[in-house]
Amino acid sequence: MKYTNYIILVLLLFLGFALKDSMHVSTNLLSLFASKELIQKLEIADNLGYSKEMYVAVKGFDENAKLKINQIATELKSVSKIKLVQSSVLPSDEIINYYKTFYPILALFQENNQTKESIKEQLEYLYNKQNSSAFYTPIDKNDPLKLFHMPSNESVNVAHKSGYIMLENYGYLIRVRTDVSASEMNDAKTLYKDVHEILSKYPETLVFAPFFYTVENSQKIESEVQFIVILSTLILFFIYFVLLRNIHLLLHSFIALLSSVLFATLISTIFFDNFHIISLAFGTSLTGVSIDYLFHYYFHNFYQTKKRVDKNVLYGFLTTLCAFAVFSFIEVPFIAQISIFAVLSLSFAYILFTFLFPMLEIKEYAQKASPKAQNSSKKLSSTVIFLFSIALLTYSFANLQFDNNIRNLDYQNEKLMKIEAIFKSMNQNKMFPVLVEASSKEELLKNLHTLHENTDGTFSLASFVPDTQKCEQRKKELAQYDFERIKAIVNEEASKIGFRENYFKDAYSFTKNLPSCTSIDLEIFKTYNLSFYEHNARIYTLALIKESSKMQTFPFVSSIDVKQMFEKATNAMYESMVLFSFLVLFIILGMLLLSVKKQFLFALNYMLFPSSFVLSLLVTFSSVNIMHIFSLVILIAVGIDYGIYMSNSTKKSNTILAMRYSLLSTFAAFGVLVFSSITALNSIGVVISLGLFAIFMLMRGMK
């Protein structure tokens, strides 16, 4: 029987190996916060090149800078994973050809009444200009009367100088379209290395791509996590080796925790779609809370008694379980997934520590000097602490400010953020990317034109391509216009004025044999970062709009602003967290009433005081982020257990000892994160460390 713990782990490992193909783990961070539909739209936007752009800027606007730009552009073109390098606004041959072919449709057409006199007048003006003008006045033999006029096209959506794209007030710029998105770590690392290798030869260059954060931050995070894992392991070894001197207990607790994590991982990844790796990581950390059960059993020598269950641990476990079970109904996948994992792993751990460990021949805890009981006259009553906690909570809610910006949770890579800000200054007009969809190319163009008509300064395929209906209308208009008459008068008058005979013989023949309105190849605008993508019988493209608020009026437009999306999701999450927290609070109150009866306030304080204490400090010195909220949940879970143990304890000194070890181990698991410079981890560390300190104060100061 004493090997059962090992056997369970081996069995679970075997099961994990056998079922590895049925386990679904998602690595897409968005899946934790956004709906499936939104994620799909972001994937489509990714396919359209959104967030896969890279920018390189060379300082200065002199000839040297241009030379550098040309050299860098040539070198970048040879890098795999780079799809397009653009340093100038020169249109491609395909675009030039397109403008030529569709000129009568794209140009502005002045359909004014041309009389013989007006034509004569215009031709005379042109003739005289040839020898009198200080500047060359070209004569267009195809359109001498300038009936067609192509408006100057600044639609390329980039600032430029002498044909080169520029970053205003800095220098010339190269726009690079890559194949790498921020979530593809390996490709991102390779491309990052290749690009930096090239640019190291060129001083005074700046480079930025969204995936640089992935590469640079992950390196920083990796080294921090290594440090934290070492620190955490050292504290745990200190607890087991130096304080407890029980390696047997360490080994079995470690195996039991591992089995619990494995069990929860198996169930959650097999039965739930897209269970996220971050939920697994947090769930694993939460499993550490179950070590409370072990310490309580160990210090009360439960394993040496014949009792099947310890009522205190059972109530502690059930209350925590209920809290997480309720949280699992929150519609935000992040919270729901962690809660489901916690329910599974804590239940498994409880079963192992309660029913299996008595068979493992755990050494009896030899009572040493018990912690000295404090003079109870110096302690505060639970009513005072309860009222104080309520006051702190009221203060906290009155001053609560949420931080919705997911970026703030990441490692604050200030160097890269500064570079990003320089490149962002390009977008002075603050353009927002949106996804536009339709069932056909014609409908897509129509939708884009509707968007252009209703939102000024929009940039999309419609900046270059007319919608089919308008194109057909122009063709009809041109077919009805009497160009033959105009041509005849032009030729007649021109020869009288002195122009060469038949010079205008082909005038306005370009208005005949016009191309089909549906024959425009949209692919040619890829150089302007405009393309389309077909998915599930729908066709999509990106557009840049100035007023994001107007977007909701168009059913064919969806936002792909990740920042906005996160803000929306976190707001929803905060709302449901607050709502569900009240529900959980009622359940916990019920459970406490059932388990601790008269000591109700005393037990409740273990949950209420640490959370109100931490929350009040947080709102005083910073805003509250999602990681703070998550850590408060852990703190509540730990607090419930301690409250029940302390209220019902018959041997208080041993309970205090168990709690001290438990506090230390919780600090080893979560508190050490306070040393991290990554906001997400630091937030957890701050909440847990302060919370543990509050619990410690309660243990010493509440009667």
Partner: protein, 163 residues
Amino acid sequence: MMFKLILIFLLFTSLLIARSFNFSEIRYSDAIGRSFEFHGKITFAHDALLINYNNDEKILDYQNGVLVYMENMKQVEISQEQKQEIIQYFEIIMMLYKGENASLLNEFEIEKTDNLSILKPKGSLKNFIEKIVLLQDKEAPKEIKLFLKNSDTITIRIEDEIH
């Protein structure tokens, strides 16, 4: 006041490094089958080009991206479209004069033989310019001949420097 002073100072310093030449411009108009010859003074400075025709008081002044046309010392408005055409034309002449290889390579394919270069446009310039033939003497441009799409030609001959 301060702004004006700065402007005068900038103009003064830019003129200090400017070089002026006598020049002739021959425009062949295919529409009327005749050539017209103009003479004047051309001044190159950093980011500036000034053309002053001899016979009449007509000046084209292009500085830092701004084009001003003057007749008899009075500014005359010209259409935006025409302005753009002249600016584009001036930019090309400035590039050729300065020998800005990077800029030229960006916009043209260049075939070079001894003192003669043939430049064929790459981008939308293709719609207006067939080619440019540049004749140089010790790297300094002596003659620039533009062959335009409508079969017109413009020949600019840079003659003796005015000291």
